[in-house]
Every structure is written in C-alpha cells, then in structure tokens.
Homo-oligomer: 670 residues x 2
C-alpha cells in the first residue's frame, strides 16, 4: 500500500484538532529537534511554513478581489469557484516548475533494519531515548530525491482535512440555509432524485466503467488492478452533484424557485448519499484479496451499512438540533446574543464530533443537524443571533469552499501520483453523462405520473446539464489514493470537476435562456435565512402522501410548541389530562405571541393558500415581465412574513389563482 493511504488514515487525529483551517497544506510535522542548531532549523521551517500559508492566504485574497471585479462587472461566465481553481492551477504550476529546493544536507537520515513496522520507534543514543513516529512508507525510487518530494508533500495536505474541517461548515450551511418552504414542497421529487437517482447513477457509472476497464485490459492499457468494486466506488463518488456553482448562478439570476429547490435539495442530499454509499462499498470490499466478485451476502451487508449509517446520522443530527432547541427555549440565553451564538456553534460542532465518536459520518449528521437547527432552534434565537449565526456560517462556508476549489487547482500539478489514462477519462465522461441521464429522465417521468405540477422537459434538461461535480466528489476521491485504481480515479475526477465547473458552470446562463427557463423571479419569501417554513402542511395536499401531512400536523401541534416559542401553546393542543405538563413546557413568550399568531394559524385549513397561488403562477415568463407580477405575488406574503412564524396567508386570499391581472401569457405546466 502506498504512502498516501497511510497518511490518510494515520493523521486523522491531527485534523480533528483544527477547525477553520485554510492553511493546512503546510504538512503537519511533529519533528522534534533538540539542539540549538536543530531548534534554529525548526524556526526556519516555521518561517517557511508561515510564508507558504501566507502565499495561500494572499491567493484567497486575490480570488476575493477578482470575484468582486466579476460581480461588479456582472460577468457570469466564470464563477468564483472556477476562478479559485484557475488561481490554484497557477500556484500549482509555480510550485511544480518554479521552485527549486536545495537539498538539506544537515537533515541526514539514519537507516535502521527491522522485521516489523511499529507505529513508534525508540532510538537509543548513548543512554538517551528518543521517540520516533511512523510517518509513512517512502517510495524507494524517490528516496534519493527527498527534499523536492517533501516540498511538494507540504503543498498537498491531508485529505482528511476536507472531511473534518472544510466540509462540515459547508454542509451545515447548506442545511441551515435550506429554503425549507420550497424544499418541502418538492420533497418527494428531491428524495427520489437524491436517493434512488444517486444509487441508479452510481450503478450505471460503475457498469460503464467496468466495461471501460475491460476494454483497457483488452488493449493492454491497464497497468494495475481495477476491480468491480473499484468501479462501483468510482460510481458512488462521482455521482454527488455540487450545489455551489450552479446555485450561485441560479440565485443570482433568480431562477424559478421550484427548479432551484429541486437542484439544491438533490445536490445537498446526494452528498450524504455519496458519502455513505462509497463507505458502504469500501466496507464491503476488504473481505479478502478476491473481493472483486459480487456476492449476495456482502451486498446485503453493504445495504445494511448504508441504511444504518444514514439513519444513524439522521437521528443523531436531529437529536442534537432538538437538544439545542430545548436549551435555547428554556434558558433566557437570548438576552446575551454572544453566548447564544457560541452555544449554537459549539452544539452544532458537537454533533459532528459525536457522530465521529460513534463511528458514523459526521458530515451527514451535520447536514441533518443544520436542517433541524433551522427548523426549530432558529425560532428561539434572538434577532441578533439569527443574523450572527447565519453570517458566521456563511463566512465559514465561503472560505472553505474557495479554499477547496483553489486547492483542487493546485492539486492538478502538485499531486505526485497522477495516472492520466485517455481511455479511462473518456469512459468516465461518457459514464457520468449516462449516469446522470439514467437518474433524471426516467425518474422525472415516474414522478410526473404522480405530480400535479409536473417537472417540465426543460427543467429536466437543466437538471441534466447542471449536474456539476465539485467539492464532495473531490474530497471523496482524494481520501484514498493508495492504489493504482484510486490514483486513476482521482486524476479523472479532477478533470471532470474542472470540465464541469468551467464548461457547464459557465454555460448555465446561456443554457437557461436557450431553454426559456423563467429568470428574475422574486422569491415569494426573500429571507434565505431559516425561520420561514410551515407551508409544509399545504404541500401535503398536493405532492406528498398522507404520512407527510400527518407528520406536519404533529410537528405543528406538538413538536414546534414543545421546542420553540412559536406555534399554538401546548395547552390548547394536548389533551386535558396533560395540562400540568403542558403548562410547564409552554413558555411565557408563547402566550405573548399567541395573540398575534392565532389569527394566522388557526384558520389556515379552509382558506385559499398562498403556495397554491404561487405554484399555479409557476409558468414560463418572459423575464422582462416578471417585474409586473411581483406586486401580486409579494403583496400578501410580505405583510405576513413580518411575523416570525407565519408563512401561511391569513383568511381568504384576495385573488383566486387564475384571475391575476397579468397580461403576459400564463402557460401552466403539464
């Protein structure tokens, strides 16, 4: 096994140590140097590291300035992530070809001979014992060229950093800023694409790649082992679409909200699916050397792992969110926004740590924690904490994201073991195309059988086109680059990410106008901050089943009042026998809010609902016309949304859905 693998598994411990870490590409070193001379060396090394980190910080600064310039000039063909990659590429080129390190002679190594390979080693120098730690296997070919290898190794930092430091804030932010209104409205479709679709896509890609590998084998292009499980693993990691680039463009162009919700929901959830799926494949793999064969029991094990990890993460993340909600409800912590924000941050982070401590996936748990925090805890926060938490995670997300994309660019040149194989790369591009198509088109067809507002063919084309691969795919593929197969996958993945981000990302705007997708839609509720959900109940009537409506009623009547200050007081919803308990659990604030809330909440079932209005108006418009329909769409909503908890329109809405005074052609979708 190669060096990278060792590194990946071994130095996990150090990663969990850090949190926001932009500078991790300076390789972690615990070299203890004892003498004054060696201490000076350590200082020198510290200085060099600072310089490298500084260069990277300045790179990010440069990226920010260029992003600003692009935004300022409304230049949409290259997104900030694409830009960050380009800068990363440039630095990679410089590191690779521009910097020459002279060999450090003083740092000569001593070679011991041993029979085993323990994790620590004691060196006895005239009575003094020195402890050495295993760092990894050294390629004996490159051992004569150690300094330059070391330099590049410093620039390629531990892959686990992505999982433990950079991804959690990104994923938490995705959950926390989820526009739950539209998310829940399209929940059925989103779950189908994210779960069924991603699994289909993984298998299609796996099969195509297996064919491709067989072809390579036949024409003698394969220089190492490539098992079927490797193909499936590739399918799992490459199936996760990235929300960043496309959605940034979508939200800038104010594209149709349902399309936005579908893309966003799918790409957030399929990250979770990809993580769990790929780790299931790995768990299924190492049952011996002949693990390439498929057998039923192992498949079942994989499925079991998949379901257990997913549901475990879901339960854990939600539980943490619920706990935070309870804490923020029953203390008056909201009087001290700083404490509140710190608590929120620490408890969300604890979720990640707890999941890692329980050996389930922290990143997935953090996603569900973010959704729960947004649904419940957010309502209990003070106004200041609401904006503070939102802004904090926005910033962390921004920095982490741009760091990942610059680092991707850097890796193309600084990574040591690229295996670029034209056949494999061509096969991979074909495979992701087929996999994406096998996800979107058949499932959309099936979904449209049950949907009132069908997913139009143009929407499907956009979803097909906008399936970019990004941070998650990269993080999963760099996690293990020990074998030949994984190295080839990693190199191909990098190219796929570059291609999709630059070409598909850049082509989104033309594509949207070509497909006549409605843009310039003012969201019915602009607050991308959480805290504006609740239309869930109305959704139940259309897309989703009675089960979902049941949950909504339960949530609205019992869970929300229990966990937050909003909703009807428990006293009114619980049976009379529970009155004392209900009294205990109802905060004084709930009573205070009751007056203002009741009129909005109590009469919502018989009335004309806002979401109906907006959905039925959900048609193809000329962008220029969208300005005109804003007063109609926004009027009632805005007045309602000014209260904290009331996206449901009070009483009968003044206008029935189709009597809108729009002069534009209002073509309803299928």
């Amino acid at each position: 096994m190669g060096f990278q693998k060792v590194w990946a598994t071994g130095s996990r411990n150090c990663i969990i140590c850090c949190f926001l870490c932009l500078t991790l590409f300076s390789r972690i070193e615990t070299t203890g140097l004892v003498d004054a001379v060696t201490e000076r060396q350590a200082e020198e090394s510290h200085r060099q590291d600072s310089t490298k980190v500084l260069v990277f910080t300045l790179l990010l600064t440069l990226t920010i300035l260029t992003i600003w310039l692009f935004k300022h000039r409304r230049f949409r063909f290259l997104h900030e992530t694409g830009l960050a990659m380009i800068y990363g590429l440039l630095v990679g080129v410089i590191l690779r070809f521009g910097v020459h390190v002279q060999p450090d002679v003083s740092n000569s190594t001593l070679t011991c001979v041993g029979k085993s390979r323990p994790s620590s080693l004691l060196l006895n120098v005239s009575g003094h014992l020195y402890e050495y730690e295993l760092r990894g296997e050294v390629d004996s070919r490159s051992s004569d060229n150690l300094p330059s290898v070391d330099m590049l190794r410093k620039a390629t930092f531990d892959p686990e950093v992505f999982f433990n430091i950079l991804l959690p804030p990104i994923i938490f932010h995705a959950g926390y800023s989820l526009k739950r209104r539209h998310f829940f409205r399209n929940l059925g479709a989103i779950l189908t694409y994210a779960f069924v679709g991603t699994v289909i896509s993984s298998f299609v890609i796996g099969l195509v790649m297996y064919g491709c590998v067989a072809l390579m084998n036949a024409i003698g292009q394969l220089d190492g082992d490539f098992f079927f499980t490797d193909c499936l693993f590739f399918g799992a990691i490459i199936s996760a679409t990235d929300p960043v680039t496309v959605l940034a463009i979508f939200s800038e162009l104010k594209v149709d909200v349902d399309l936005y919700a579908l893309m966003f929901g799918e790409s957030v959830l399929n990250d979770a699916v990809a993580i769990v799926l790929s780790s299931s494949v790995v768990a299924y793999q190492p049952s011996g050397e002949s693990s390439q064969a498929l057998d039923g029991r192992a498949m079942l094990t994989s499925l079991g792992v998949f379901l257990a990890v997913l549901s475990g993460s879901f339960v854990l993340g939600s539980a943490a969110g619920v706990l935070t909600a309870l804490v923020t409800k029953f203390t008056r912590l909201r009087d001290f926004p700083l404490l509140e924000t710190a608590l929120f941050f620490l408890m969300s982070w604890s979720t990640f740590l707890l999941a890692e401590a329980c050996s389930i996936t922290g990143v997935v748990a953090v996603l569900f924690c973010g959704i729960t925090q947004a649904h419940y805890t957010y309502n209990n926060l003070s106004a200041e904490s609401k904006s503070r938490t939102k802004e904090l995670f926005e910033l962390l997300n921004f920095l982490a994201e741009n760091f990942i994309f610059s680092y991707m660019g850097l890796t193309l040149f600084s990574f040591q073991k690229h295996v670029f194989n034209p056949v494999f790369i061509t096969g991979a591009f074909l495979a992701i195309f087929l996999g994406r198509a096998a996800n979107i088109y058949p499932l959309s067809f099936l979904l449209n059988l049950g949907r009132t507002n069908a997913i139009s063919l143009n929407f499907q084309h956009v979803m097909m086109f906008a399936g970019l691969r990004g941070a998650m795919t990269f993080a999963l593929s760099i996690r293990d680059t020990a074998t030949y197969a994984r190295q080839m996958m990693f190199s191909s993945t990098l190219l796929i990410v570059f291609f999709t981000v630059w070409v598909f990302g850049g082509g989104t705007t033309p594509m949207l106008s070509f497909l006549k997708i409605r843009v310039g839609v003012e969201e019915e509720q602009e607050s991308s901050v959480p805290g504006s959900e609740e239309t869930v109940g109305t959704v139940g009537r259309r897309d989703t089943a009675w089960l979902f409506r049941l949950w909504y009623t339960f949530d609205h009547k019992y869970v929300k009042p229990l966990l937050t200050h909003s909703g009807p007081p428990l006293i009114t919803t619980l049976p009379a026998c529970c009155a004392p308990v209900a009294h205990c659990l109802t905060s004084s604030q709930t009573y205070e809010q009751q007056d203002s809330d009741s009129e909005l909440i109590l009469n919502h079932s018989p009335s004309m609902l806002y979401s109906d209005l907006s959905v039925s108006a959900d048609a193809v418009f000329d962008p220029s016309s969208s300005v005109q329909d804003q007063p109609l769409l926004q009027g009632p909503t805005h007045s309602v949304l000014s209260t904290e908890e009331s996206p449901i329109v009070p009483g009968p809405v003044p206008l029935p859905p189709h009597s809108s005074p729009l002069s534009e052609p209002l073509r309803l979708r299928l």
Copy 2:
C-alpha cells in the same frame, strides 16, 4: 533537555495550520498505520480523539450555560473566566485520577541503537522503507508507563497553539475594539504604564526572585539551576496584566471611562511588551552555559532586539491595516459584505503570518493591525461588514478566551512536571505585589506632575489591585517548560493566575464600592465598535504634547482622507500643485459626505469641545444619580455620532462645563 521543550519547538509547523482550534488538546499524531489491523487502530484512535474533543466542547457549552445563569442572576463575584477555570480543574481531576487506560500491548515499540539523533529515520523492513519522525526525548523512567503518560499528554496540548491560534484573535479583538477616544485621551499615561512600568515591574520581580532563589539555595530547597536570566524571564512573563476579567466587570458596572481606558490600554500594550521582553531575555540567554552573568554587550543586544521587534511589529501591523484600508476604499467591495468580511479577515490574518514569516512577533503585529483596521479600514466597510467583523472577532475572542481559561484549570492536574516550591511561590506572590506597586505608584506620581486631570489615589489603588494575570502570562510560561527553573515558574504562574483571577477578579466589585469609584457611567459614546474616534485633536490640548497634536492634524488632513471615505477631501487639504493626484485619490463618496460632514469638522478648533465637557464632569457620583446626567451628556453627542465620522460637537456646546444642572455633589478630581 526535556520532552516538553522538544515538543514546543518541533511541532510549530502543525499549529500554524489550524485557525480556530478548540480541540487541540488531542495530541497531534501523524502515526502512520498501514495494515488493516493498524488501520482499525487508527480509527479507534480517531474515535477516542473525537470523544475527548467532544468532552471539551461540552465543557465549554456547560461553561456558557453557567455564565448565562450567573449573568441572569447578576452574580458578579465569579467571572466567566474563573468559572471556566473551575470546570477545567474538574476535568483535570477526572483525567488524572478517574481515567485508567489499559496498556495497549499491540502498539509495541522497536528499539534501535544509534550514534546521532536525526530528525527523520528510515526503517528497512524487508525492502520497504518506512519513514519515522523524531517526536521527542522520552524520559527513560516513564517509558515503562507509556500509555498513561500518552493519555495525559493528549490532554496537554502544544503550547505554541496559544501563540499561533488562540492569542491572535484575542489580541486582534483587543486592538479592534479599543475605545480609541479614551485611549488617545490618556495615551501618555498608558504608554508610560505599559512600557516603562512593565520594564520596571519585570526588573523588580526579577530582582526579588533572584533574592528568593538565593534564599532557597541557602536553605537547600533548590534542586536545579536557576540563573539570573531565569529570574528576569519570570519577571517579564509575569508582568503582563490581563484585560479580560476586570474589564468585563468594569464594562458591566460602567465604571469611570478614564479608569477603564487606563487599565485597558495598559493591559493590551503590556502584553506586547511582555512578549517582546521575554523573547529578548531568551535571545540574550543562550550565549553559552555561563549565561547567568550579566554583561553590558548582551544587555544592549537584548535592548536592540526588544526595540527592533517592537517597532517591526508596529510597522508591519500598521502597514497591513493601511493596505486593507486602501483596498476597501478603492474597490466597491462594500456592495458585497460577505466578500468584504472575508477579505478583512484574510488580510488581518496575513499580517500575523507575514510577521511570523519575517521572524518578528505575529501577535504584536496583529495588535497594531487591529488598531489600524479600527482607525481606518472600519470607516470604509459597509454597515453590514462593520457588524459582521465586530461580531466575528467577538465570537472568536470569546471562544479562545474561555478555552484558554478552561485549559489553565485542566493543566493544574494534567501537566506532568509540576514543581511546587512553597518558598518560590511565596516569593513570587510578594514579587508581583512589589513589582506592580513599583509600576503604578511612582509612575502615577510622575504622570500627575504633568497631567491636568490627575490620576487620583483611589484610581491608583484600583490599578494596583486589578493587576490580574491571565492568558498571556500563562501562554508565555507554558511555552517552555523544559528546565527545572521553567517548570517551577510554570507551576507558580498557574497558582498566581488562579489566585488573582478568583480573588482579585471576584473582589473587584467590593473594591470599587469601597474606594468610591464612580460606577454606572453611561459612556459618552456607547458604540464599543470602532469608528468613533477623532477626539484625538482635542486631547492634544491637554495631556499630550505638540508632537501628538501634529500627528493628529496630519492624520486628519492627509492620512484619513487618503485611506478612508471620511474627513475633508484631499483636494481641499493638499496644496494646489497636487490637485490631479488628490483628485484621483478622493473617492466620490467623500464628496457626497462632504456636505454633511463639513459643518461638523470645519469649525471645531475654536469651539467648546465635547470631551472637555465630559472630562470636567468626570467626578465621583452616586450611581443612582448617573441617570440624571445622561440627557445632558448624551444629548449633543448622539445627534452627532449618528453620522459616521463626527465625534466632534458642532459649534459651541450649549452648556459650559460647570453649569450643569446636576444636583449631585460634583467633586472634580485633583
């Protein structure tokens, strides 16, 4: 040399990698484990680490909840930092006495014999080369007890973490939130206390400790070397007072603003002095084994290092602040608060990295960077970025601070090499008392000779009493615990910090009321955010010299207009020949603001100034009366401060200073 020292110098590189790092006490390990078995071990170890970090996160959460409870119940005798220490102590006790680790047999070590001690070592196992890294010297006595040592070592994390991760945000926040109005008003006194006073205090403490060590030597209590330079080093590290605890109480009680400014300014700047002074002592020390003797040339070297590092950090920090100001001024980045905040964060962090890369003190550079950012850059930020940056650094500061204090508590039990010597500890307590007295009283006497508003004796008593030792002292003392002398210093420092934080910190409120210090003073300008300076010019007339007034005029006329959107346009201040340049450098916003600003700025020189008014009213009040004088004090200011850049009151102030309609006794200070 001991293990701790090795560790401190060697693993610097890894620290710079992380930024906000609450979890660093899980020892960084790069142990590479290769086999499936060892991989499982690595996963196990990762899980254990996550659990430990989780425990620590929950500890902080608990601290936050208790802090809230204390604030809620207005319980002021134990500050949050004291509380964090108590929780840390508890965890330390549990770790020390409650947790038993069974020895991990599988992780057996191989012992090699060698002649030298290289930084890396290659192990040849049947043709495969494995690289090992030096981790440090192992105490041969404890090597039979490795697992439990390892467990405690995991809980004691790398001291450099304080300097590279935890202190920078704290110090930056201190600079960024400095109330420059009062700071500049008392600049002369603050600089005297912080620079002259800290040096005096260091020497007094050093001398007293030298006597104490001589006594210990005489009565046979000294078990190792303790040189005079060690005594000086102790003086340097223990002289830095901590702003956290006392100032939190001061600001809660709204204590007299001048007293607040004196204490805050002194404790912020003497951190810088202590860092530089202690590193100067170290730089002066290792000139051989007989380094205990004082010689003139070495003293001069130390002084040179001291001045060079201090001025270097000052120049670098200010330059970075100025650069950020220019960038934020000449781009319209303020349209995108997220980008702006990210840029601000990255550039401030770059200052730290740049200083480290130049081998000067990053922490000190960051302090001056913070002050410059607040003075210039802050004015260019959008309203949203202003609150974002403020809140972000407030949060980082809060988390870092509480982490340091809990960690201090933890260290008392988890640190391996405590040397508690009753004589030394008694001597140290005496020394810090004498050192503080030698700083405050003589310097106050000298200062009062030149000050119009003298520093009253009661103020001096408070400053004497409130000289707590905190994070900086701890960080400096844990940085190097290799020798016997340093270990004894560290143990004594811990006790001093505990004692001062709990006793002096808790006693602040009674002390204030005993000394009849005015509390409940509404600040003339409540905004603890930066961006409300400018009364500097008015200060020039009283305390500070013509040199300072010159600088103020220069700053107001040229620097501010150049770097920010505020102040008079450069066109009006620069000579006519520079008109084209001035035109280039003046932003359109400056012209826009000109209308609203001009009336406030242009006629300030002949008028009655607001700061005069407030200073002359600066007397001892009954707290209950302070409400009455608010309308008088706040009236004109608030109307003025609503514009971004105008703390100077327009025109003649309605009331002359002494005709205030206050019925309370208004005793002017000496």
